[in-house]
Symmetry: C2
Subunit: 543 residues, 2 copies
């Protein structure tokens, strides 16, 4: 027997309608590629999105069509979020910092008909356009005044909007399982794969962002969005902000520590989200610029995800009165799938133990079922030790990649293998120990590269650390540590080994340590161990 409740669908357009009705004056602040800071509001967002929806239709965009973006966090990119999905088309965000071949691949594999791009990427688009096989329309996200250097035939975004009216628009109603957005994985471990989100998955995920035990987003927040709109929907924050009428602060192309600090201070930001490297940048700025005063910030919490949050960053945030919330997820999980907020009974623990917990990837939240299985498929206990393949299931977890790439990715019971190796502790907190492709197997036992990296990064001279496995005649593989030192800091391999001795098992100690100026990262802030392994392919471990 079915219930007798209304069959209203969860649609992205409903979020915008809600924000316009209930939070029209809440601000949306955007830095732009042209330089200006644009101050607007949900009222103006609504009006411009209606113009944009009409412009998209005038360009021939139909439900299901992919509309690609190559763009920073700006108000125009945000407008595309609501307009494209609102009319039933698919927002196809492309990471503009990938290699040109990867961009080509993603634009074409996604089958984009239009590409909207920031003026920063005018040259890129001019060079690549010949390779964009199905693209019919190019739109530069700027006004007529800035079209000088743009590729031939590109249209100016502001002209498109000016041609349309912002009169009321009847957002179409359709099945909430309709595709809303397409995003490719970071390509850290192989070719990027397309994840096709639905309106349903997006809306359910938004609830989690706004839960008191989730990311706690509320109308009281002013959010500095330091995660890119071009990847995994900026952790769902654009949608969740509209859901609760939270102020949104978009940093445009500048994500350096100084720019973020200034913006957070000027806009009274209470909340921010970013990958660890973004926070490293912020703290470098605080350390180096005497004019930068952490006390001038209104931040009360930040979310750290995408890579393991180093303990040092968590501690530094604590020292300036900010709660760091680690979150774990992936393109395939909406993205947020585990959130590291302390349980009520953990809030009275000594500070050190609280930080210990905060270094875990996060605890299970309603909506994402988590389990860890061993190589034989046995479900492992929540004992904080047994590590294996982390698997997930739920309404904002993918059922398969775009165009069937990778084949059938779910097991018979619907579980998706994340490719992350993890254990779960008795309190339900996930601890990621590695990616399965990065696992170091020494004498039949696993060494966690994430744990070793974290331990190395707790040394005051270490800015960043990576651990990779190197072949070893006796032990099969042994760990090698690669370190970037803090500017001006001195430390020897021996000193690092001594430091690690207190923190990890003896047989985990790296067989070699090398210093480099920089570690390779993806555009989403992840260590590219594939690259590191190539770089050190000929390296010989000392006997």
């Amino acid at each position: 027997m079915l219930g007798l409740m209304q069959d209203r669908q969860l649609l992205v357009s409903g979020l915008l309608r809600h924000a316009e009705s209930y939070h029209p004056d809440v601000e949306i602040i955007s830095k732009t590629c042209e330089g200006a800071v644009v101050r607007s509001s949900y009222r103006q967002l609504g009006a411009r999105v209606r113009r944009l929806a009409r412009a998209l239709e005038a360009l021939g965009v139909k439900p299901g069509d992919r509309v690609a973006t190559l763009a920073w966090n700006t108000h125009r990119h945000l407008e595309l979020y609501f307009a494209v999905s609102g009319i039933g088309a698919v927002l196809h965000t492309v990471n503009p910092r990938l290699f040109p071949e990867q961009i080509d691949y993603i634009v074409n594999h996604g089958g984009a008909k239009c590409v909207f791009f920031d003026i920063t990427f005018g040259d890129l688009v001019a060079t690549q356009r010949a390779g964009f096989t199905e693209v019919e329309t190019l739109v530069a996200m700027t006004d007529a005044d800035h079209m000088g250097d743009m590729p031939d035939g590109a249209l100016a975004y502001e002209d498109l909007l000016a041609d349309q009216t912002d009169a009321p628009y009847d957002w179409p109603e359709f099945d909430e399982r309709t595709a809303s957005a397409l995003c490719y994985t970071s390509g850290t471990t192989g070719n990027p794969k397309g994840v096709l989100y639905s309106h349903r998955s997006t809306l359910l995920h938004s609830f989690v962002v706004t839960q008191a035990d989730g990311l706690q987003l509320s109308n009281a927040d002013s959010t500095l969005l330091a995660v890119p709109l071009f990847h995994v929907n900026a952790w769902g924050v654009p949608y969740a902000s509209a859901m609760v009428g939270a102020k949104l602060v978009l940093p445009g192309p500048q994500l350096d520590g100084k720019s973020l600090y200034d913006l957070a201070r000027d806009e009274g930001c209470t909340f921010s989200l970013g990958v660890p490297t973004v926070w490293l940048g912020l703290f470098q700025h605080l350390d180096r610029d005497p004019a930068a005063d952490a006390g001038a910030l209104m931040l009360n919490r930040v979310v750290i995800g995408g890579s393991a949050a180093p303990r040092a960053i968590i501690q530094r945030f604590r020292d300036i009165g900010v709660t760091a919330i680690q979150a774990w997820g992936m393109s395939e999980t909406g993205p947020v799938a585990a959130i590291c907020t302390l349980l009520a009974r953990q809030r009275d623990l000594p500070e050190n133990e609280q930080v210990d917990i905060q270094t875990l990837q996060g605890r299970g939240i309603y909506g994402v079922e988590l389990r860890v299985v061993d190589d034989e498929g046995n479900i492992l206990p929540h004992d904080g030790k047994s590590a294996g393949d982390l698997q997930v299931r739920g309404p904002w977890v993918t059922s398969g990649y775009f165009r069937g790439e990778g084949g059938d990715v779910l097991d018979g019971d619907g579980w998706f293998s994340t490719g992350d190796v993890a254990n779960i502790n008795p309190d339900g907190f996930v601890r990621l120990t590695d990616r399965s492709k990065d696992v170091i197997k020494s004498g039949g036992e696993w060494i966690s590269s994430i744990d070793l990296e974290n331990a190395a990064m707790s040394h005051p001279a270490v800015e960043e650390a990576a651990v990779i496995g190197r072949p070893h005649p006796k032990w099969q593989e042994r760990p090698m540590l690669i370190v970037v030192r803090k500017p001006g800091a001195e430390v020897t391999p021996e000193e690092l080994t001594t430091h690690l001795e207190g923190l990890v098992a003896k047989w985990w100690l790296p067989d070699a340590t090398e210093f480099v100026d920089e570690l390779p990262h993806t555009a989403t802030g992840k260590l590219q161990k594939m690259k590191l392994r190539e770089q050190f392919a000929d390296y010989q471990l000392p006997a």
Copy 2:
């Protein structure tokens, strides 16, 4: 084009599974009808619910069957919430404080096959059972020791559980639109009507209870559930508590001020929900018993709903450091449909203005669309003045009553008429002025009985007030005020009129004031104006 996300359904069983895995040791405290306080946890809840699910199946309960309850807030009633819906049957909560004929009507109209009842209601069931036309099984929610006075043939709940195992149970997966619970309206304005909730509506509603801008329920809460499990799913708190692993404190049959105070103090309750009369009881106790110290409570917020929250109660909560959150809703809306949390920019207003806002019924939340229309169906502006029929739409709003009672209740665009008269202010806050059936029309203009009642209740001698319309030769109708004085307090009709003069328009002043010892309430704490109008049917207004 559909997205490629998993088609996992939102089911009540998933909430329990989540709480068991992630919050096994969080406590569930229950007073019982037998007198004992039962301390258990989500782990034990899970185990007992599995036994109960098997017991229900053994009794022949099939998906879609209605399982009625006549019960207080106890752990056993909570178990039925999860077991009945979990196996795909329908939890049919019946308000045991209705008149016997109404109980008969609801049990039969709902088509219940089993009735689970608290021992308090053994006599009631013994008398009524002959009238329960389809009921095959009676279960007394107690153990064998307390079966002495129970109706013949009734089974003992604890025996049923003891016969089953708590081994893992494969909760069935089904369409989330499947009916989960059936609840009848309070019968304040006519015959109670059945609202058939779905798993989907229940789960979406749970998210709102747990949102930071919603009722903020989190793992840090210990909730004193002072709203009955027998009506509108206790405002969705049982489900939402499992969603986030919040401690639940169930007061059993005692809802008097002293019992609630003691329980809240002993269990460190941080959160509670109740109708205004429950809070009146609490403050009476605080006022009268010198041993009752508000400072010993850990409460940080309470939700007030079901009837208008009097300003005096909101202020009193403020004075003891508790935030009162008014909420508005109805059986037909899941029930929570508007929540009165202050907007960020309102939090710096002078206290008085903040309280003004808190007396409003609540602001629109994502998921429930609200609008006010006039008699001709024109949509009225959000101006805080234009009042009319409040209409709602959304995935946790009913599409029609059980068995088609009342016919087609939605308009062509899917809007449901609440029968409440309201305006919406520019900030999106709803202010209920009346029920359409209670509206007082004087000389062609409306007088808000809720406003007049609130104004009267702001007099220190007034415990409770009701306003009804009486026929008037010249003005068509004029308001009459009916007042319950605080114990020992003195006040004359003239003094009340003088008090009101400062608070409402002159032409609103009541034409008559009468004092009574008690006002008639429904079992859900609502003023029964139908009854009052009968009671004063022959009353003549002074010329």
